[in-house]
Symmetry: C2
Subunit: 506 residues, 2 copies
């Protein structure tokens, strides 16, 4: 009998070392977006490319194939949800995918994505789509190469989606987003017809940046973010980056004259950070100690940002602290006015600052456009026009410029095509999980009003974070909630929160 134990150990050691180098790559990418002096971009891109090459070599090492085929006959392989079974199943999946990508393509992708991101920063600042178009064309062309190298059954887009939401299919995502849209559109209309809106001037008062940072950190720590194992920094396009078992960094950007921007950005990235900090330490870097999909990752950020952070109960607890941090802006404001202010639902231009309701329409627009770029029915040069058309037809507005139009997101410049739909999947998952957490834990609102957030975090740790990749995303949610993947809880929760504010039906 082969020595499965020894082979399994070799496999794990190989990947644990790879994870450490991946963490280095994450770190130099984080640095590139937060710290790097402006002239350092090109050289950094070359460094990231070299590391990507080293990582790809490690991930396609022929010994992995040998180890995995030996382990395929081990008793572990028959227990797909055990830790060992998960390691074998998931590493086989990754190995097969990686070996389909030639080294040359991996290095080209890596360099194009770093330079693309840098080009995007400049193009957005200068509102200059033309300078960005050739960069994006190359990125789209490389993405098409990827779909051909990886292969697909129905749609080339499947091959890209799978990088972010493993095993999801374009056709299924299209169906669920269509159902979601059918329920959202009337909700947006009801809100518009209600004739009610918050006092918007409140959120646009002066909120000094140092106080925003301190308050954001206080909130992040209160919901459980460990600042001894993480940081908060400033960047152009906020993100969260886990680069080690005790090193998870979140980022935000500050607008002195608009409170929600940074604060909900911090709540959102903290949600991601809590998932990273909640991963199992005993197998960090192996599939049971890794996040399962971006949809589930997003469910964590959305849950803390929206289900928790925009609730009345959250502000019943935090509003006095907010008044202390921003005495000038909030002296004459009530908690009800403030909570209405952070739930201002209306069509708007910028996805990351969109309200919870219209947000998913922003996603559907991107999902449709990137599919069209990949299947060739849309050319990069025609993107700004197509973008504005869709915004007009779906949200009734259009951007006066590309900076706040099709240049607003970093994703495409960074090569993240196939990523956007995971945001809406996350919204749907978050509502299902939040429902179930409430069933299990009792009245969450009462806990929040007392400043108790850790019971919810513990529930998420046990049920989601510590599950790693032992179950795939849809299985995981079904196991935890006992229910099929369903967008209805999201609609119900939105109506429940917004009904008292807008006087619409629950």
């Amino acid at each position: 009998m082969p020595d499965y134990q020894a082979t399994y150990k070799k496999l794990c050691e190989h990947y644990l070392k790879t994870t450490k180098l991946t963490g280095v790559s994450e770190l130099i990418g984080w640095d590139e977006r937060t710290m790097l002096p402006s002239k350092g971009g090109e050289y950094r891109a070359e460094q990231i490319t070299i590391l990507a090459g080293i990582l790809h070599e490690r991930n396609t090492d022929a010994r992995i194939g040998d180890w995995l085929s030996e382990l395929a006959d081990s008793p572990w392989a028959a227990e797909p949800h055990s830790d060992q079974g998960t390691v074998i199943r998931q590493l086989k999946r990754e190995y097969e995918k990686e070996t389909k990508l030639p080294q040359r393509l991996v290095e080209e992708l890596s360099k194009a994505h770093v330079l693309g991101q840098q080009a995007w920063v400049k193009a957005r600042a200068a509102n200059d789509f033309k300078s960005f178009a050739p960069v994006l064309e190359q990125i789209v062309s490389l993405a098409k190469e990827v779909t051909e190298a990886i292969g697909y059954e129905d749609s080339p887009y499947d091959a890209l989606l799978d990088f972010y939401e493993p095993e999801a299919k374009t056709s299924e995502v299209t169906a669920v987003l269509a159902a979601l849209k059918d329920d959202l559109v009337p909700l947006v209309a009801e809100i518009a017809d209600s004739g009610k809106s918050p006092d918007r001037e409140i959120m646009q008062r002066k909120y000094p940046i140092a106080a925003q940072e301190a308050f954001g950190k206080e909130a992040a720590a209160a919901i459980g973010f460990d600042f001894e194992a993480g940081r908060l920094d400033v960047t152009h396009h906020p993100f969260c980056c886990g680069m080690g078992p005790y090193d998870c960094r979140i980022t935000t950007r500050y607008d002195e004259n608009f409170f929600p921007s940074a604060f909900f950005g911090i709540m959102h990235e903290t949600g991601h950070g809590l998932y990273e900090q909640g991963l199992r330490k005993d197998c960090y870097g192996l599939p049971p100690g890794k996040y399962v999909s971006l949809g589930i990752h997003e469910s964590q950020s959305r849950l803390w940002e929206n289900c928790v952070g925009r609730s009345k109960a959250f502000w019943d607890h935090f509003f006095p602290a907010a008044q202390n941090y921003f005495p000038e802006a909030l002296a004459d404001v009530t908690v009800d006015q403030f909570q209405f202010g952070v739930n201002d639902v209306r069509p708007s231009l910028i996805r990351v600052e969109a309200d919870e309701v219209t947000y998913n329409l922003h996603i559907i627009i991107r999902f449709e456009l990137e599919q069209a770029l990949i299947d060739g029915s849309l050319q990069v040069k025609d993107l700004p026009g197509a973008w504005n058309e869709k915004y007009q037809s779906m949200l009734g507005i259009s951007s006066p410029d590309d900076a706040d139009g099709c240049l607003q997101d970093v994703h495409w410049g960074a090569g993240l095509i196939g990523y956007f739909p995971t945001y809406s999947l996350g919204n749907i998952y978050s509502a299902q999980l939040y429902d179930k957490a409430g069933e299990d834990l009792g009245n969450l609102d009462e806990m929040f009003a007392r400043g108790e957030f850790l019971p919810l975090l513990d529930w998420l740790r046990t049920n989601i974070h510590e599950s790693g990749q032992n179950y795939r995303a849809t299985e995981l949610v079904e196991n935890v909630t006992g229910k099929k993947f369903d967008h209805k809880p999201l609609i119900r929760q939105l109506r429940a929160k917004l009904a008292p504010l807008y006087g619409i039906q629950e």
Copy 2:
């Protein structure tokens, strides 16, 4: 005839890629000392170790040996100071050294030095030499292994010194530091006997940290530091780190109640940074685009910190700006009082805050102690006692605790044994270069008083920075100044600056 051109190209490409990975290693080291969350240290040490292993593998790649032996017969090898000749000579030197160190030792060193540094931070904060002793014992033991692996003629310490000051010999350094000491001791005594001292309370007033940072940055930019290709951050033990042709990062630490600490730290690290930023871009990462020795590196930092930054002319220009930054502290102070304040010469405990005169005595103490640790005549456990004895006999003072005694410097914890003497070599070189710059450029003081620092920087660029490793350190200084290595210019400059302040003989 062999295709020397093709071989030379392969050699250079190999090293250019290695340099990019070295830059990554520098970056994650910088991050470890400035940004890393406190719980992330152990994992980071493992990452640094893995990279050190990859770099050592690259640096000992057998192909390098083949390429170099082929190129040994090329016409370039006969022109040792040409770019190609320098590449061949210096890479041969490095390759021969690297191949003497086994991979296992390289990885152990790397990990021990990162963990040692982290242990040092804790031990210093807790004034706990005992917890640090076993860590230092291991570092000393590894350093001894290095001396045996590398080999030496006279003294094992030679093998360590060579890492920092290539081709320098312990016996020569001992001789020059002894001569320096013979001239410094009477100078210290004359100053003590002068009965004069600056008004020390001025430097101990409240200097708000944000203003210190802004003023420090203004001064660094004025003397030529390019903040689009560099940064300034906060750390425990200030350092400068070049990690790319357009990415050089300097660090400092702030004391709100002692002005010189951060400001001269910034001037010092900026001096290092200007050298890094002044390296040739067309061969960055190859020997003609690399610094030549730590002694020369230190000559640049000391020149800007001391020859420029403590001069009367510098403050004639900058004192009004200082008064703007620190209106409360400096309203009733004159520029003469201030400049005397930054030239306060007297025996003190902390090396990095010592005045220019006594500074070299701090170095001589460390130089003697680390030699004793390496030759085995001193045990780590006896270090605190030996430290205090030497301070008592050489400076007439001793530290009440180890935190400000033998735990004050990061070097030994970081494995930098053999490094300290380069500080004094730097002081000596800086004075020789500064003399010659004055001869070539005319009255430097008049330029400084007008805020003109770039002529001096240009002179250093042309004569030192752009020379890379084309000449070894002592040759370089001799070529530039036309004079042999000599400590007398340092003594003369010190006396010239201090005579008007203390009323001693020039």
